[in-house]
Symmetry: D2
């Protein structure tokens, strides 16, 4: 249920209403906007007499929210959410803050990662990505460097100041991620509906969660997965479009669904970023699709960059060289400027 509060009502009165609602075992979410204060109610709202609520002096309007997604719903929070790192410092994501996340698919060695990190920083990246734990369809394939890879990421963070984005695959590694203060925890497409993991990310951390859309996930499912995290206490969720599985498979790995960007913008206040590297699997079209994502209104992109794509241990065919990335970064800046004017 959405309750819009009249403009000049005191916080005290709002707090009274919140208390009364909370006593009915509803979760109450407050949104203070420039023009509007909104209360969003989650839970068994049938216990509320809506006519009574509407008749209150301080209430401007009240309406049911039929959408299945609640906490992530833009109706609850009309302004864009801005996601901060837990430290409160460093780059932000959303509401006009663009995340340019770059780095190799897998962490391979200290030299490799630090080299790339420095290159992408100079080129304009504000986050460093790199996989330590890799989800692989085959149990017989390289599964990533694991904890050793995390250590190397920490060193690269120290060397460059770039906050790091890396994938958490298994619940039992969450403590390590928290301990090592991983800046942004990525949840991959295979785990988008791993509810156990999502719940725990809600309960145990306030670190931003970069949540990828499922392999053939609907937008509704993506929002509901965000809901699992948010309903359990962590509101810092960033959604990520990464290509969907369709019948067209001759020339790209997946079909990048860029309409997801403006559609999600209507539905939710959460930031939305795009991963053109995994979506296409082809470095030669990554720049075009990255620019298209920016023009579509994305709050960031996550791009694979490798100093030696041909010899990458994983997904080399989709990695840009640092030079190609620098060129792309410049174009993105120009595009942003043109769109803002």
């Amino acid at each position: 249920m959405i309750v819009v509060i009249r403009p000049d009502v005191s916080q005290e009165k709002i707090d009274h209403l919140i208390k009364w609602l909370s006593d009915k075992e509803l979760i109450v979410r407050e949104f203070h906007g420039e023009k509007q204060n909104v209360l969003g109610l989650i839970g068994n709202t049938k216990c509320i007499d809506m006519d009574m609520l509407k008749s209150l002096d301080i209430v401007e309007s009240a309406s049911d929210m039929n959408d299945t997604f609640k906490a992530s719903n833009r109706k609850m929070h009309p302004a864009d959410s801005i996601v901060n790192l837990e430290s409160g410092t460093g780059p932000k994501i959303g509401g006009g803050n663009f995340a340019l996340i770059a780095g190799p698919c897998s962490v391979e060695s200290r030299e490799q990662l630090t080299g790339i990190a420095k290159d992408v920083k100079v080129a304009g990246a504000n986050f460093l990505r790199g996989g330590a734990f890799k989800p692989r369809t085959s149990p017989y394939d390289f599964q990533g460097m694991g904890s050793a890879g995390l250590e190397i990421l920490l060193e690269a963070r120290e060397a460059t100041g770039l906050p790091i984005v890396t994938e958490l695959m298994y619940l039992h590694n969450l403590d390590e991620f928290i301990e090592k203060k991983i800046d942004v925890i990525q949840i991959g497409a295979r785990n988008t509906q791993n509810y156990d993991l999502l719940k725990e990310l809600g309960r145990s951390t306030k670190a931003p969660i970069l949540l990828k859309r499922g392999l053939a996930g609907t937008l509704k499912e993506l929002l509901m997965s965000a809901e699992y995290i948010m309903a359990n206490g962590n509101e810092n969720v960033i959604l990520c479009e990464r290509g969907i599985r369709t019948y067209e498979q001759d020339y790209a790995r997946n079909t990048l669904d860029l309409s997801a960007v403006p559609i999600l913008k209507k539905l939710t206040h959460l930031p939305i970023i795009v991963d053109p590297s995994h979506a296409t699997g082809r470095s030669d079209i990554v720049p075009s699709m990255a620019l298209a994502a920016v023009a579509a209104g994305a709050d960031g992109i996550i791009v694979e960059v490798h100093n030696d794509p041909k010899n990458a241990l994983c997904d080399g065919a989709q990695s840009l060289t640092p030079k190609e990335f620098a060129k792309l970064s410049k174009k993105i800046t120009k595009l942003h400027k043109a769109l803002e004017e």
Copy 2:
């Protein structure tokens, strides 16, 4: 790598060869068929000199296996696998043994479950299904009775003698499933690529695993997920086709892909069953699709049956009544007879 042994070689000689191969850190899988003895080698087979191997007296032929799936590959095990319950008693699945698995979507109460269990047993079911832990897209929906539901399943098992099939959603519940000797552990479509869970199912139990195809999973991915379980020690995997996500969504929930049955039969020795209830979401076409699955060669079907579909807590629209199920069961028997002749 596949090594075919000459017909009349003594086991002693085979054991010598196996020892030699194992010393090279290869996993060696033995298949003793009526006509052929086959050794399947998994691991870094490049360390083997194939010419040397072929020149051995006891070896008839040796060839590389290019498929990414190994343990589940029919080349390794030309005959159908027959999956047994851990107890070694009770119904089997595969190789001519048909699994008729029936029961409600969710366990709702002792009375409900025992009533249905008795009905489906009389009608010919040899397994009882029922969900205690339910995967739900929304965190705000009914999530199943949990452990209390498992207890009710055990009681129904005791009352009817039917082995039970129920879904494990979370790794942290695995111990409970093992302790309570759940006969067949079902892994749902959202967990098909939850590798952490799959690995542990390989390590910790020998109970049969009923592994569902992902929401939009490929057959290759399904086999690779089976591989995660088998490579970790549990060979008792049953594959389940349950409908795939396609553009056609007007009249059924998913598109049941029955060609998966004969295709998987070519690729793997594992049993394949079909879930027409979740695939279609419509009880009025479940019988037709169940019969089609049997005609396509499935080793079993898993069907939802509810005594009062209209008031079911979950998925009533796709549940047969006990009477409808009894009618279907009779037709399946007739069909089997007609196909065998």
Copy 3:
């Protein structure tokens, strides 16, 4: 609009009502069933006062029909339609009459076709298929023998007595098809929404039209395409499921959607047949899928049979040998018997 007539009303009175309705520029379709007489009204039914209609002595009930498909709707014609050849003799399709249609993908020569025709007739086929005009994605590929191929089909018909089924690709060949009395005119998946062609098939002929589902067509679209033919005067439409385009492309050409059979049976009175050859593209799984189609309730199957699949000019990989077809045909007979009992 659907108007149900009271049971014992004289035809004279019905005719009066029909005249009155026709004068309002409505198309009126009469259905005389054992239990019910139904009038189906197509056109601008808003000009009818439904209350007045319901108040008539001879009317039992009247209701709007919201479905977009009208003439093909089962509500208009509760019983199964039985499609006859224009001659009125020979095999029928639908309402318990099974069409076993077999033959080569392309007509290649008189010897080839007559040989296969005789073989499939002995094996139980009641229709002969063969393509004279072939739709090819590339303009540079073999496009069929054309008119010469039609001649050969006519000879094979004469030699065996089997009615022939062959594809009409181009409107400008329709006259030739009519002149040569092609028994069943097949419309391929690329022409399912070629409305010009469909309209003309409605206007110019009463020959049965075998209408294939589009490459990625919905069931609703298939019915609407049937509607284009029926609304223009030819009611003899047979629907054909031939596999749909999905993300799963590793092991079969398309995904055969067998749930289309029972779903269409609910929606329409038209016969539904299945083409397992084009759907799968693999002769080794054609028999399984053909049997599954029969068990799902199909009114027929259309199967490719070639005496020398390896050297077929077109689609050899999906063709059964005459021997394989004979084996399948026997199984279908057994299956039918088992299902009828």
Copy 4:
């Protein structure tokens, strides 16, 4: 086959070679680039001795072309094709010439069309679109104004000078289109594989053909359909991405596949435009997707604009108002500038 000619060879010598090749019944296509002269050979190239060809003085290299698409292949014509109107005057498409095509879904009246035409011209459109013949899934729906609609389009062309783009649905209307000098003939998604129509468009006209991708068409199929037109004599083909059919159907009609733009750019020299209106079916996200198309490198967009979207006879929900279109047009100009710099 692709034959690269040495840089400084005289045209006379090239002509000799072409004659020799043509005598072997090959189609020879000449491309004169700044850096390269290329001959593309289509037909039975096996009759050519490639070693002999390579040994010729004037030949730099020769190689087989394995792609199934030939005339549209970029290997044959390394530079972008620029499509001109038949008159040779007016706007061009491709090779840096951007087509901004705007107008209503359907022509409804003289006032409506002329009004919109003037508005979009002022806003920057260089082509006017409008449907006179409308493809409708239902035979009972409004099918467009037909020839009367064409007349209105001609008047709007005269009034504004904008060349017109309109859909040809039926072969029997082609003469009328040619007679009336329709500037760009659009072929809709349902006719993408109507080969009869495509062939005739190749034979009978040199007017530019705007060829839409099929409802669930692959890029390969789109190229092969272009090939049908080109192989029959008309090289002026413009490809159009218009959204594909996928499982995601909750929030948009189709999934706009923008990766089609850079991928097609690699494969073919033909211009590629994008239709965000039909792809999404939602005017509120059309501007975002139009901008994304521009950033992805499209050679044009085709957008629906209606003066009164709520009362449009067809597809109002996806139409921009003239004001919204003017705003979009300005942004596109800025974007182009930013990308060129």
